[in-house]
Amino acid sequence: MSRIGVFICHCGENISSTVDCEQVSKACATIPGVAHSVDYKYMCSDPGQSLIREAIKEKNLTGVVVAACSPRMHEPTFRRVCAESGLNPFLCEMANLREQCSWVHPKEARTTEKAIDIVSMLVEKVKRNKPLYPINVPVTKTALVIGGGIAGIQAALDIANARQKVILVERDPSIGGHMSQLSETFPTLDCSQCILTPRMVEAAQHPNITLYTYSEVESLAGFIGNFTARIRKKARSVDEKLCTGCGECATACPIKKIPSEFNTGLGMRSAIYVPFPQAVPNKPVIDRTKCTYFLKGKCKFCESKCPANAIRFDQQDEFIDVQVGSVVVATGFNIKETSFFPEYGYGVYKDVITGLQFERILSASGPTLGEVKRPSDGTTPKKIVFIACAGSRDPAKGIEYCSKICCMYTAKHAMLYKHKVHDADAYVFYMDIRAAGKGYDEFVRRAIEEDHVQYIRGRVSRVYERNGKLIVKGADTLLGAQPVEIEADMVVLATASVANEGAEALAQALHVSYDGHRFFSEAHPKLRPVETNTAGIFLAGACQAPKDIPESVGQASAAASKVIGLFSSDELTREPVIAVVNRTAPPVYSTCVGCFLCFTACPYGAIGPEEIKGRDGAVLKTVANVNPGLCQGCGTCVAFCRSRSIDLQGFTHDQMYAEVMELFA
């Protein structure tokens, strides 16, 4: 006869304000098999925990149900508590009275009744729980970092400096990401490349880091500590070992009028190109969609000029399979194409540009070598209007969130513009100034007070061209929303930050969840901001949500420390929630009839045949057998098994039926 202990948590008032906890514990006390039932203000607190410890000992409980918050929150806590008092942790279950009851229902009798139902269901389940013992699996001490922007570089360096191996994969021909495109960085105005390029070089030369640029992660299989990743190394059409990066090929290339991605279309590149001078590695790639040879079958100018004979037109994409123990996703963000903003005329008027384009114009390595010039005619604009929230906080355009970085970079843009063009006027149309960060608000104040940037609180309704000027129609909401019309030479749109292209596909390949805007989801919004719901996979930087550089770097280091922690032991213990094929006494041995339907059901190929042999070695029966190392515990096989010979530990038929039946008892 089982002796279950039930512990009802008030969670301060989070639960008790709508659920009558006392009544719940009284009701549970009457359930047959319940030896102990109490309610307490904070079960997760120290006194709360010792309450459980003592009860386990005094009443020698055979099972525990903690009715509190979601198991996704505190299951580990309370299972640990049980273990500490000698009760197998898997004899402890949590009833979710907070997220799925008290927070979603009003204070009324039916809410308490539901609470009682929920607890009794788990009491019935836990009665049937069996002691389980963690499985130990070896850890492959190599981390895979996807994305070579500042976040990826930071994570890779931190892990590598902790003497662990790292494989850094970057989709573009060079690492560096968006940060390498920036001019100067807020709030200190230090040159972005000056602080970034040393890191890029360090990452490329680090003995513990293997760098794959112009490469993408195709698939990921396995589980924490034991992943297998397939990397597609796209054909550069250049032999990286031979290439010296002299640049003769690019000079020789006849196709020179290709809009440069790095210069956001404001500059041109050739068909064989290095994205930017400080690129790492400093080796070119051939853009096969533009190269005359690949399009027309002749040209090869680059090959003839290459002193190292490094050009390889016949190079193929390579696939590399790597074993890794953990993954850091740092694939970054992108900026929303503003063509969906017809009222601002982006794409119609050359001098209406995005913030990222303005970064290139301000950058010393940019198309104008850092001089502020209009894309249309190369003249120096005397009046620039900066429009914040161009796409962000705009449900009508499908983006209701705040992109977070625009307020700061817009202030920076206006400031740098005034520094470079002294007699210039800079106007900023804004809705709110969100400058929450160390030295951030001071920075914005400086732009306003010292550099005399004109801040106008209001959204712009329309931008159109009238005899060579861009007419910006805005309103000043601090003056009764009076219409304001500015004749500008140039307009800079602080466009929304959006998830990078391919984010969805990657999330699906990695089996991590993502939100409605295709940003990757963290395991807990507050307490597990760098973990994903998939053990062993962590997030860094703007792939999780719009972030500035300090935040991205911070999160990258956090992710790195998670990886290092994981690698600190040679083995890691996995929850024993796995499928098992039953064994019975001879002559049956197992109720498994060997239909092997489960083979096809298993997503992990974790199930194989096992021969049961007699003393003479003759095969008596072939049955299914689960590899505990590979099984992830989804239980699909269990639902498939006709003879009910395979069952999932922790979610057995016995347990689940009992749980459900209790609801209608």
Binding site: V460, K473, D476, G480, A481
Partner: protein
């Protein structure tokens, strides 16, 4: 400086607007894009976004300010604001509702009397004839407003170019039209 007493929000103008147009004024976050693009904004006493701000306050003083504003009569229903509003607030619909309420509460802005007079003359002619009879309209409008000299230059020129019919056309369908007026007047009414 007025003190805010937030009274029960069921009898506020905002709730009337919600009921009539199913537009929730709390959607508006006061970015001012509507005012920025409004062709009539410069002529208005309260710009469109300020009208919404007043509605958001849900206090009698603000409600009164809105109903007695010139703005609601200057709205051209050009739909520019709603086409560009990031929060998809249907301002033209709100303006329509506010106008009829302003008439009902007899709060019509003095300068707006002409505009109201025009609308009424217009509706009267079509109520009478089923269709618009421009001379009839202008005549009645002049009677109501005493703007006797307005358009004296345009009208004859129009006539000479055959753009003005001296006699109204009498449509068979006009009985229907009248019925529509009677029925809808009893519902919302107050348009003549």
């Amino acid at each position: 400086m007025s003190t805010l007493q937030h009274h029960n929000s069921t009898n506020t103008l905002a709730s009337f607007v919600l009921d009539r147009t199913s537009v929730s004024v709390s959607r508006c976050y006061q970015c001012g894009k509507c005012s920025a693009g409004c062709p009539a904004a410069t002529e208005m006493d309260l710009t469109p976004s300020v009208i919404l701000r007043h509605l958001q306050r849900e206090v009698p003083a603000s409600d009164a300010a809105v109903l007695s504003s010139y703005t609601i009569w200057l709205c051209l229903s050009c739909q520019t604001c709603v086409a560009r509003c990031p929060m998809e607030v249907d301002l033209p619909a709100v303006m329509d509702a506010l106008r009829s309420e302003s008439v009902r509460q007899k709060k019509v802005h003095p300068q707006a009397k002409d505009i109201l007079a025009f609308h009424r003359s217009f509706l009267n002619t079509i109520e009478r004839f089923g269709r618009l009879w421009e001379i009839g309209l202008i005549a009645e409008y002049k009677m109501r407003t005493w703007h006797l000299l307005q358009d004296v230059l345009v009208a004859p020129a129009m006539f000479l170019r055959g753009k003005l019919a001296l006699l109204p056309e009498r449509v068979k369908g006009r009985k229907d039209t009248r019925r529509i007026f009677d029925v809808t007047r009893s519902k919302e009414g107050h348009h003549s």
